[in-house]
Symmetry: C3
Amino acid sequence: MAGGAYDLFELYGRLLDEDRLEDWLDLFAETSRYEIVSRENRALNLPLSLMLCDNKDMLRDRIHSLRHANIFNIHRDCHVIGLVHAVPAAGERVSAGASYSLFQSNQDGETRLFSVGRYYFELVRHGDSLLIAQALVVVDTGTIPTLLATPI
Amino acid sequence: MAGGAYDLFELYGRLLDEDRLEDWLDLFAETSRYEIVSRENRALNLPLSLMLCDNKDMLRDRIHSLRHANIFNIHRDCHVIGLVHAVPAAGERVSAGASYSLFQSNQDGETRLFSVGRYYFELVRHGDSLLIAQALVVVDTGTIPTLLATPI
Amino acid sequence: MAGGAYDLFELYGRLLDEDRLEDWLDLFAETSRYEIVSRENRALNLPLSLMLCDNKDMLRDRIHSLRHANIFNIHRDCHVIGLVHAVPAAGERVSAGASYSLFQSNQDGETRLFSVGRYYFELVRHGDSLLIAQALVVVDTGTIPTLLATPI
Protein backbone atom coordinates (compact mmCIF):
# COMPACT_ATOMS: atom_id res chain seq x y z
CA MET A 1 0.00 0.00 0.00
CA ALA A 2 1.06 3.46 -0.67
CA GLY A 3 0.09 5.77 2.24
CA GLY A 4 0.83 9.42 1.55
CA ALA A 5 1.42 8.82 -2.14
CA TYR A 6 -2.09 7.37 -2.42
CA ASP A 7 -3.55 10.51 -0.88
CA LEU A 8 -1.50 12.73 -3.14
CA PHE A 9 -2.66 11.01 -6.33
CA GLU A 10 -6.24 11.07 -5.06
CA LEU A 11 -6.03 14.81 -4.45
CA TYR A 12 -4.22 15.41 -7.73
CA GLY A 13 -7.03 13.88 -9.79
CA ARG A 14 -9.84 15.34 -7.72
CA LEU A 15 -8.56 18.92 -7.85
CA LEU A 16 -8.20 18.74 -11.63
CA ASP A 17 -11.68 17.25 -12.00
CA GLU A 18 -13.16 20.00 -9.83
CA ASP A 19 -11.32 22.65 -11.84
CA ARG A 20 -9.47 23.78 -8.72
CA LEU A 21 -6.30 24.45 -10.65
CA GLU A 22 -4.88 26.90 -8.13
CA ASP A 23 -5.20 24.33 -5.35
CA TRP A 24 -3.69 21.75 -7.67
CA LEU A 25 -0.65 24.06 -8.01
CA ASP A 26 -0.18 23.82 -4.24
CA LEU A 27 0.63 20.12 -4.65
CA PHE A 28 3.93 21.11 -6.25
CA ALA A 29 7.12 21.99 -4.37
CA GLU A 30 8.61 25.41 -5.16
CA THR A 31 11.39 23.64 -7.02
CA SER A 32 9.48 21.32 -9.26
CA ARG A 33 8.92 20.18 -12.78
CA TYR A 34 5.84 19.10 -14.70
CA GLU A 35 6.18 17.34 -18.01
CA ILE A 36 3.91 15.45 -20.37
CA VAL A 37 5.61 13.20 -22.91
CA SER A 38 4.38 10.55 -25.27
CA ARG A 39 5.28 6.95 -24.57
CA GLU A 40 7.04 6.78 -27.90
CA ASN A 41 9.25 9.83 -27.36
CA ARG A 42 10.16 8.58 -23.93
CA ALA A 43 11.16 5.17 -25.27
CA LEU A 44 13.29 6.79 -27.96
CA ASN A 45 14.66 9.29 -25.45
CA LEU A 46 13.55 12.18 -27.64
CA PRO A 47 13.50 15.59 -25.98
CA LEU A 48 10.05 16.60 -27.30
CA SER A 49 7.39 17.27 -24.70
CA LEU A 50 3.68 17.80 -25.10
CA MET A 51 3.85 20.17 -22.15
CA LEU A 52 6.86 21.21 -20.09
CA CYS A 53 7.04 23.48 -17.09
CA ASP A 54 10.44 23.12 -15.55
CA ASN A 55 9.78 25.39 -12.63
CA LYS A 56 6.74 26.27 -10.60
CA ASP A 57 6.44 29.80 -11.99
CA MET A 58 5.98 28.38 -15.47
CA LEU A 59 3.21 26.21 -14.10
CA ARG A 60 1.65 29.25 -12.39
CA ASP A 61 1.77 31.16 -15.68
CA ARG A 62 0.15 28.27 -17.46
CA ILE A 63 -2.73 28.14 -15.01
CA HIS A 64 -3.04 31.92 -15.10
CA SER A 65 -3.29 31.97 -18.88
CA LEU A 66 -5.84 29.13 -18.76
CA ARG A 67 -7.95 31.30 -16.51
CA HIS A 68 -7.53 34.60 -18.34
CA ALA A 69 -6.37 34.23 -21.89
CA ASN A 70 -6.78 30.82 -23.44
CA ILE A 71 -9.75 29.87 -25.52
CA PHE A 72 -10.53 26.20 -25.49
CA ASN A 73 -13.48 23.87 -25.54
CA ILE A 74 -15.18 23.83 -22.21
CA HIS A 75 -15.10 20.32 -20.86
CA ARG A 76 -15.35 18.38 -17.67
CA ASP A 77 -12.52 16.03 -16.73
CA CYS A 78 -12.94 12.73 -14.93
CA HIS A 79 -9.74 11.03 -13.81
CA VAL A 80 -10.05 7.39 -12.89
CA ILE A 81 -6.68 6.52 -11.40
CA GLY A 82 -5.65 2.92 -10.83
CA LEU A 83 -3.56 1.24 -8.16
CA VAL A 84 -0.76 3.27 -6.60
CA HIS A 85 2.86 2.21 -6.43
CA ALA A 86 5.26 3.91 -4.02
CA VAL A 87 8.85 3.17 -3.01
CA PRO A 88 11.35 5.14 -0.94
CA ALA A 89 13.95 6.98 -3.02
CA ALA A 90 17.18 8.83 -2.27
CA GLY A 91 17.11 11.76 0.16
CA GLU A 92 13.84 10.88 1.85
CA ARG A 93 12.05 11.16 -1.43
CA VAL A 94 9.33 8.84 -2.61
CA SER A 95 9.04 7.52 -6.15
CA ALA A 96 5.42 6.89 -6.97
CA GLY A 97 3.42 5.84 -9.99
CA ALA A 98 -0.09 5.08 -11.10
CA SER A 99 -1.89 4.45 -14.35
CA TYR A 100 -4.74 6.78 -15.20
CA SER A 101 -7.68 6.97 -17.54
CA LEU A 102 -8.91 10.46 -18.29
CA PHE A 103 -12.41 10.98 -19.68
CA GLN A 104 -13.67 14.31 -20.95
CA SER A 105 -17.31 15.28 -21.24
CA ASN A 106 -18.45 18.24 -23.27
CA GLN A 107 -21.35 20.55 -22.58
CA ASP A 108 -23.74 18.21 -24.36
CA GLY A 109 -22.83 15.46 -21.91
CA GLU A 110 -20.91 13.44 -24.48
CA THR A 111 -18.03 11.60 -22.88
CA ARG A 112 -14.92 10.44 -24.67
CA LEU A 113 -11.80 8.69 -23.59
CA PHE A 114 -9.31 11.52 -23.78
CA SER A 115 -6.06 9.97 -22.59
CA VAL A 116 -4.59 6.96 -20.88
CA GLY A 117 -1.08 6.61 -19.57
CA ARG A 118 0.93 6.63 -16.41
CA TYR A 119 2.10 9.11 -13.79
CA TYR A 120 5.69 8.89 -12.62
CA PHE A 121 6.10 11.24 -9.65
CA GLU A 122 9.02 12.13 -7.43
CA LEU A 123 7.65 13.29 -4.10
CA VAL A 124 9.34 15.21 -1.28
CA ARG A 125 8.26 15.39 2.32
CA HIS A 126 6.87 18.72 3.47
CA GLY A 127 5.75 18.55 7.10
CA ASP A 128 3.17 15.80 7.34
CA SER A 129 2.41 15.60 3.68
CA LEU A 130 4.12 15.03 0.36
CA LEU A 131 4.68 17.50 -2.44
CA ILE A 132 5.52 16.87 -6.07
CA ALA A 133 9.11 17.55 -7.02
CA GLN A 134 8.78 15.99 -10.43
CA ALA A 135 5.67 14.97 -12.28
CA LEU A 136 6.24 13.05 -15.46
CA VAL A 137 3.07 12.11 -17.31
CA VAL A 138 3.69 9.50 -19.98
CA VAL A 139 0.72 9.33 -22.33
CA ASP A 140 -0.07 6.29 -24.44
CA THR A 141 -2.70 8.22 -26.35
CA GLY A 142 -1.33 10.42 -29.12
CA THR A 143 -2.99 13.53 -27.86
CA ILE A 144 -2.86 16.50 -30.18
CA PRO A 145 -0.94 19.20 -28.28
CA THR A 146 -3.41 21.97 -29.18
CA LEU A 147 -6.14 20.02 -27.43
CA LEU A 148 -4.03 19.78 -24.31
CA ALA A 149 -5.48 22.86 -22.66
CA THR A 150 -5.64 21.67 -19.07
CA PRO A 151 -3.10 19.47 -17.30
CA ILE A 152 -3.52 15.72 -17.44
CA MET B 1 -5.95 6.08 2.79
CA ALA B 2 -9.55 5.52 3.32
CA GLY B 3 -10.15 2.42 5.51
CA GLY B 4 -13.79 1.50 5.86
CA ALA B 5 -14.88 3.85 3.10
CA TYR B 6 -12.57 2.04 0.69
CA ASP B 7 -14.21 -1.27 1.57
CA LEU B 8 -17.67 0.20 1.18
CA PHE B 9 -16.98 1.55 -2.31
CA GLU B 10 -15.37 -1.74 -3.27
CA LEU B 11 -18.44 -3.67 -2.14
CA TYR B 12 -20.81 -1.13 -3.72
CA GLY B 13 -19.32 -1.62 -7.18
CA ARG B 14 -18.86 -5.37 -6.87
CA LEU B 15 -22.43 -6.07 -5.78
CA LEU B 16 -23.82 -4.04 -8.67
CA ASP B 17 -21.52 -5.80 -11.14
CA GLU B 18 -22.59 -9.20 -9.82
CA ASP B 19 -26.26 -8.22 -10.07
CA ARG B 20 -26.65 -8.73 -6.33
CA LEU B 21 -29.04 -5.81 -6.02
CA GLU B 22 -30.69 -7.04 -2.83
CA ASP B 23 -27.29 -7.26 -1.10
CA TRP B 24 -26.46 -3.85 -2.51
CA LEU B 25 -29.57 -2.51 -0.75
CA ASP B 26 -28.10 -3.68 2.54
CA LEU B 27 -25.33 -1.11 2.17
CA PHE B 28 -27.90 1.62 2.86
CA ALA B 29 -29.02 2.77 6.29
CA GLU B 30 -32.76 2.60 6.97
CA THR B 31 -32.85 6.38 6.77
CA SER B 32 -31.05 7.04 3.56
CA ARG B 33 -31.23 8.74 0.22
CA TYR B 34 -29.97 7.76 -3.23
CA GLU B 35 -29.81 10.33 -5.97
CA ILE B 36 -28.30 10.55 -9.43
CA VAL B 37 -27.87 14.04 -10.85
CA SER B 38 -26.05 15.44 -13.82
CA ARG B 39 -22.98 17.55 -13.24
CA GLU B 40 -24.67 20.43 -14.99
CA ASN B 41 -27.83 20.40 -12.89
CA ARG B 42 -25.78 20.18 -9.75
CA ALA B 43 -23.66 23.17 -10.76
CA LEU B 44 -26.79 25.18 -11.54
CA ASN B 45 -28.47 23.91 -8.36
CA LEU B 46 -31.42 22.63 -10.38
CA PRO B 47 -33.73 20.20 -8.59
CA LEU B 48 -33.96 17.67 -11.44
CA SER B 49 -32.65 14.21 -10.73
CA LEU B 50 -32.05 11.33 -13.08
CA MET B 51 -33.03 9.01 -10.26
CA LEU B 52 -34.16 9.89 -6.75
CA CYS B 53 -35.05 7.59 -3.89
CA ASP B 54 -35.31 9.67 -0.76
CA ASN B 55 -35.95 6.78 1.55
CA LYS B 56 -34.93 3.17 1.62
CA ASP B 57 -38.40 1.84 0.81
CA MET B 58 -38.32 3.71 -2.48
CA LEU B 59 -35.01 2.07 -3.22
CA ARG B 60 -36.49 -1.33 -2.28
CA ASP B 61 -39.40 -0.72 -4.63
CA ARG B 62 -37.05 0.24 -7.39
CA ILE B 63 -35.05 -2.97 -7.04
CA HIS B 64 -38.24 -4.99 -6.76
CA SER B 65 -39.61 -3.55 -9.98
CA LEU B 66 -36.27 -4.16 -11.71
CA ARG B 67 -36.59 -7.80 -10.76
CA HIS B 68 -40.26 -8.26 -11.56
CA ALA B 69 -41.68 -5.64 -13.85
CA ASN B 70 -39.19 -3.61 -15.82
CA ILE B 71 -38.16 -4.49 -19.31
CA PHE B 72 -34.70 -3.33 -20.23
CA ASN B 73 -31.74 -4.42 -22.26
CA ILE B 74 -29.87 -7.15 -20.53
CA HIS B 75 -26.38 -5.97 -19.87
CA ARG B 76 -23.41 -6.62 -17.68
CA ASP B 77 -21.97 -3.76 -15.64
CA CYS B 78 -18.30 -3.28 -14.86
CA HIS B 79 -17.46 -0.53 -12.38
CA VAL B 80 -13.86 0.59 -12.30
CA ILE B 81 -13.68 2.91 -9.32
CA GLY B 82 -10.70 5.17 -8.77
CA LEU B 83 -8.93 6.40 -5.65
CA VAL B 84 -11.03 6.85 -2.53
CA HIS B 85 -11.25 10.03 -0.50
CA ALA B 86 -12.61 9.94 3.06
CA VAL B 87 -12.78 12.57 5.80
CA PRO B 88 -14.56 12.61 9.17
CA ALA B 89 -17.79 14.60 9.19
CA ALA B 90 -20.17 15.81 11.88
CA GLY B 91 -21.75 13.28 14.24
CA GLU B 92 -19.26 10.47 13.63
CA ARG B 93 -20.18 10.44 9.99
CA VAL B 94 -17.71 10.02 7.17
CA SER B 95 -17.79 12.00 3.94
CA ALA B 96 -16.35 9.93 1.16
CA GLY B 97 -15.92 10.26 -2.56
CA ALA B 98 -14.49 8.46 -5.56
CA SER B 99 -14.58 8.83 -9.32
CA TYR B 100 -15.96 5.94 -11.29
CA SER B 101 -16.05 4.64 -14.82
CA LEU B 102 -18.94 2.35 -15.64
CA PHE B 103 -18.74 0.07 -18.66
CA GLN B 104 -21.69 -1.93 -19.96
CA SER B 105 -21.42 -5.03 -22.10
CA ASN B 106 -24.36 -6.44 -24.00
CA GLN B 107 -25.13 -10.05 -24.74
CA ASP B 108 -22.96 -9.95 -27.88
CA GLY B 109 -19.97 -9.00 -25.73
CA GLU B 110 -19.84 -5.44 -27.03
CA THR B 111 -18.61 -3.08 -24.37
CA ARG B 112 -19.31 0.61 -24.24
CA LEU B 113 -18.43 3.35 -21.82
CA PHE B 114 -21.80 3.96 -20.19
CA SER B 115 -21.08 6.64 -17.62
CA VAL B 116 -18.31 8.46 -15.81
CA GLY B 117 -18.68 10.70 -12.81
CA ARG B 118 -18.19 10.82 -9.09
CA TYR B 119 -19.73 9.35 -5.96
CA TYR B 120 -20.30 11.65 -3.01
CA PHE B 121 -21.37 9.53 -0.06
CA GLU B 122 -22.26 10.32 3.53
CA LEU B 123 -21.56 7.26 5.63
CA VAL B 124 -22.72 6.36 9.12
CA ARG B 125 -21.19 3.87 11.49
CA HIS B 126 -23.15 0.71 12.09
CA GLY B 127 -21.28 -1.63 14.41
CA ASP B 128 -17.94 -2.39 12.76
CA SER B 129 -18.90 -1.25 9.31
CA LEU B 130 -20.22 1.78 7.50
CA LEU B 131 -23.59 2.25 5.88
CA ILE B 132 -24.69 4.79 3.31
CA ALA B 133 -26.84 7.59 4.67
CA GLN B 134 -26.65 9.60 1.47
CA ALA B 135 -25.41 8.56 -1.92
CA LEU B 136 -25.15 11.32 -4.45
CA VAL B 137 -23.97 10.18 -7.87
CA VAL B 138 -22.93 13.08 -10.05
CA VAL B 139 -22.67 11.97 -13.66
CA ASP B 140 -20.58 13.77 -16.24
CA THR B 141 -22.08 11.69 -19.02
CA GLY B 142 -25.47 12.90 -20.21
CA THR B 143 -27.15 9.57 -19.71
CA ILE B 144 -30.64 9.24 -21.09
CA PRO B 145 -32.89 8.56 -18.08
CA THR B 146 -34.81 5.78 -19.82
CA LEU B 147 -31.56 3.85 -20.20
CA LEU B 148 -30.90 4.18 -16.50
CA ALA B 149 -32.45 0.88 -15.55
CA THR B 150 -30.02 -0.25 -12.90
CA PRO B 151 -28.29 1.95 -10.31
CA ILE B 152 -24.95 3.52 -11.19
CA MET C 1 -8.23 -2.66 2.65
CA ALA C 2 -6.29 -5.28 0.95
CA GLY C 3 -2.57 -5.16 1.94
CA GLY C 4 -0.45 -7.63 0.05
CA ALA C 5 -3.17 -8.37 -2.48
CA TYR C 6 -3.28 -4.68 -3.39
CA ASP C 7 0.45 -4.72 -4.06
CA LEU C 8 0.18 -7.88 -6.11
CA PHE C 9 -2.53 -6.49 -8.40
CA GLU C 10 -0.58 -3.25 -8.73
CA LEU C 11 2.53 -5.13 -9.79
CA TYR C 12 0.53 -7.45 -12.06
CA GLY C 13 -0.84 -4.58 -14.12
CA ARG C 14 2.36 -2.57 -14.13
CA LEU C 15 4.56 -5.41 -15.34
CA LEU C 16 2.18 -6.17 -18.21
CA ASP C 17 2.00 -2.49 -19.17
CA GLU C 18 5.79 -2.23 -19.15
CA ASP C 19 6.07 -5.37 -21.29
CA ARG C 20 8.07 -7.07 -18.53
CA LEU C 21 6.43 -10.42 -19.21
CA GLU C 22 9.24 -12.48 -17.71
CA ASP C 23 8.97 -10.57 -14.42
CA TRP C 24 5.21 -10.96 -14.62
CA LEU C 25 5.76 -14.74 -14.76
CA ASP C 26 7.53 -14.51 -11.42
CA LEU C 27 4.24 -13.49 -9.81
CA PHE C 28 3.00 -17.04 -10.31
CA ALA C 29 3.67 -19.95 -7.97
CA GLU C 30 5.31 -23.00 -9.55
CA THR C 31 2.01 -24.81 -9.25
CA SER C 32 -0.38 -22.37 -10.76
CA ARG C 33 -3.03 -21.83 -13.35
CA TYR C 34 -3.92 -18.90 -15.58
CA GLU C 35 -7.23 -18.80 -17.38
CA ILE C 36 -9.22 -16.26 -19.31
CA VAL C 37 -12.92 -17.00 -19.75
CA SER C 38 -15.86 -15.00 -20.97
CA ARG C 39 -18.50 -13.95 -18.47
CA GLU C 40 -21.08 -15.85 -20.43
CA ASN C 41 -19.21 -19.15 -20.50
CA ARG C 42 -18.52 -18.87 -16.81
CA ALA C 43 -22.18 -18.28 -16.03
CA LEU C 44 -23.18 -21.29 -18.15
CA ASN C 45 -20.30 -23.32 -16.68
CA LEU C 46 -18.98 -24.06 -20.16
CA PRO C 47 -15.44 -25.40 -20.35
CA LEU C 48 -14.28 -23.10 -23.16
CA SER C 49 -11.43 -20.76 -22.32
CA LEU C 50 -10.03 -17.87 -24.30
CA MET C 51 -6.63 -18.73 -22.87
CA LEU C 52 -5.68 -21.55 -20.53
CA CYS C 53 -2.32 -22.38 -19.01
CA ASP C 54 -2.87 -24.96 -16.32
CA ASN C 55 0.72 -25.07 -15.19
CA LYS C 56 3.54 -22.57 -15.07
CA ASP C 57 5.53 -24.19 -17.87
CA MET C 58 2.65 -23.60 -20.26
CA LEU C 59 2.69 -19.96 -19.22
CA ARG C 60 6.47 -19.85 -19.75
CA ASP C 61 6.01 -21.31 -23.23
CA ARG C 62 3.37 -18.79 -24.03
CA ILE C 63 5.61 -15.88 -23.04
CA HIS C 64 8.52 -17.44 -24.89
CA SER C 65 6.52 -17.75 -28.09
CA LEU C 66 5.28 -14.19 -27.71
CA ARG C 67 8.89 -13.09 -27.63
CA HIS C 68 10.21 -15.29 -30.40
CA ALA C 69 7.54 -16.61 -32.69
CA ASN C 70 4.21 -14.85 -32.62
CA ILE C 71 3.32 -12.12 -35.02
CA PHE C 72 0.82 -9.65 -33.67
CA ASN C 73 0.00 -5.99 -33.81
CA ILE C 74 2.41 -4.02 -31.71
CA HIS C 75 0.47 -2.24 -29.03
CA ARG C 76 0.88 -0.65 -25.67
CA ASP C 77 -1.30 -1.83 -22.80
CA CYS C 78 -2.64 0.35 -20.03
CA HIS C 79 -4.37 -1.42 -17.16
CA VAL C 80 -6.51 0.73 -14.92
CA ILE C 81 -7.44 -1.56 -12.05
CA GLY C 82 -10.18 -0.63 -9.61
CA LEU C 83 -10.66 -1.27 -5.91
CA VAL C 84 -9.18 -4.44 -4.49
CA HIS C 85 -11.08 -7.04 -2.52
CA ALA C 86 -9.23 -9.60 -0.40
CA VAL C 87 -10.41 -12.19 2.10
CA PRO C 88 -8.58 -15.03 3.87
CA ALA C 89 -9.20 -18.44 2.35
CA ALA C 90 -8.44 -22.02 3.36
CA GLY C 91 -4.84 -23.04 4.03
CA GLU C 92 -3.47 -19.52 4.54
CA ARG C 93 -4.52 -18.60 1.05
CA VAL C 94 -6.04 -15.29 0.11
CA SER C 95 -8.95 -14.89 -2.31
CA ALA C 96 -8.69 -11.58 -4.06
CA GLY C 97 -10.51 -9.76 -6.80
CA ALA C 98 -10.55 -6.51 -8.69
CA SER C 99 -12.27 -5.11 -11.75
CA TYR C 100 -10.05 -3.88 -14.52
CA SER C 101 -10.24 -1.76 -17.64
CA LEU C 102 -7.60 -2.48 -20.24
CA PHE C 103 -6.84 0.09 -22.92
CA GLN C 104 -4.61 -0.60 -25.90
CA SER C 105 -2.82 2.04 -27.93
CA ASN C 106 -1.34 1.33 -31.32
CA GLN C 107 1.76 2.83 -32.87
CA ASP C 108 -0.22 5.78 -34.18
CA GLY C 109 -1.23 6.65 -30.64
CA GLU C 110 -4.84 5.61 -31.13
CA THR C 111 -6.29 4.22 -27.94
CA ARG C 112 -9.21 1.84 -27.70
CA LEU C 113 -10.97 0.13 -24.87
CA PHE C 114 -9.77 -3.42 -25.33
CA SER C 115 -11.33 -5.31 -22.46
CA VAL C 116 -13.14 -4.89 -19.18
CA GLY C 117 -13.83 -7.58 -16.64
CA ARG C 118 -12.70 -8.89 -13.31
CA TYR C 119 -9.73 -10.73 -11.84
CA TYR C 120 -10.43 -13.57 -9.44
CA PHE C 121 -7.13 -14.65 -7.90
CA GLU C 122 -6.16 -17.29 -5.39
CA LEU C 123 -2.95 -16.19 -3.70
CA VAL C 124 -0.47 -18.17 -1.63
CA ARG C 125 2.06 -16.83 0.83
CA HIS C 126 5.67 -17.07 -0.23
CA GLY C 127 7.97 -15.51 2.37
CA ASP C 128 6.87 -11.91 2.81
CA SER C 129 4.91 -11.67 -0.38
CA LEU C 130 2.04 -13.34 -2.19
CA LEU C 131 2.15 -15.41 -5.33
CA ILE C 132 -0.65 -16.34 -7.69
CA ALA C 133 -1.86 -19.93 -7.41
CA GLN C 134 -4.86 -19.35 -9.64
CA ALA C 135 -5.63 -16.43 -11.85
CA LEU C 136 -9.07 -16.45 -13.37
CA VAL C 137 -9.77 -13.51 -15.66
CA VAL C 138 -13.44 -13.15 -16.46
CA VAL C 139 -13.92 -10.83 -19.40
CA ASP C 140 -17.15 -8.98 -20.09
CA THR C 141 -15.89 -7.90 -23.48
CA GLY C 142 -16.22 -10.51 -26.19
CA THR C 143 -12.61 -10.39 -27.18
CA ILE C 144 -11.69 -12.26 -30.32
CA PRO C 145 -9.23 -14.97 -29.23
CA THR C 146 -6.84 -14.31 -32.11
CA LEU C 147 -6.39 -10.77 -30.87
CA LEU C 148 -5.54 -12.03 -27.43
CA ALA C 149 -1.80 -12.06 -27.97
CA THR C 150 -0.63 -10.82 -24.59
CA PRO C 151 -2.14 -11.71 -21.23
CA ILE C 152 -4.93 -9.55 -19.85
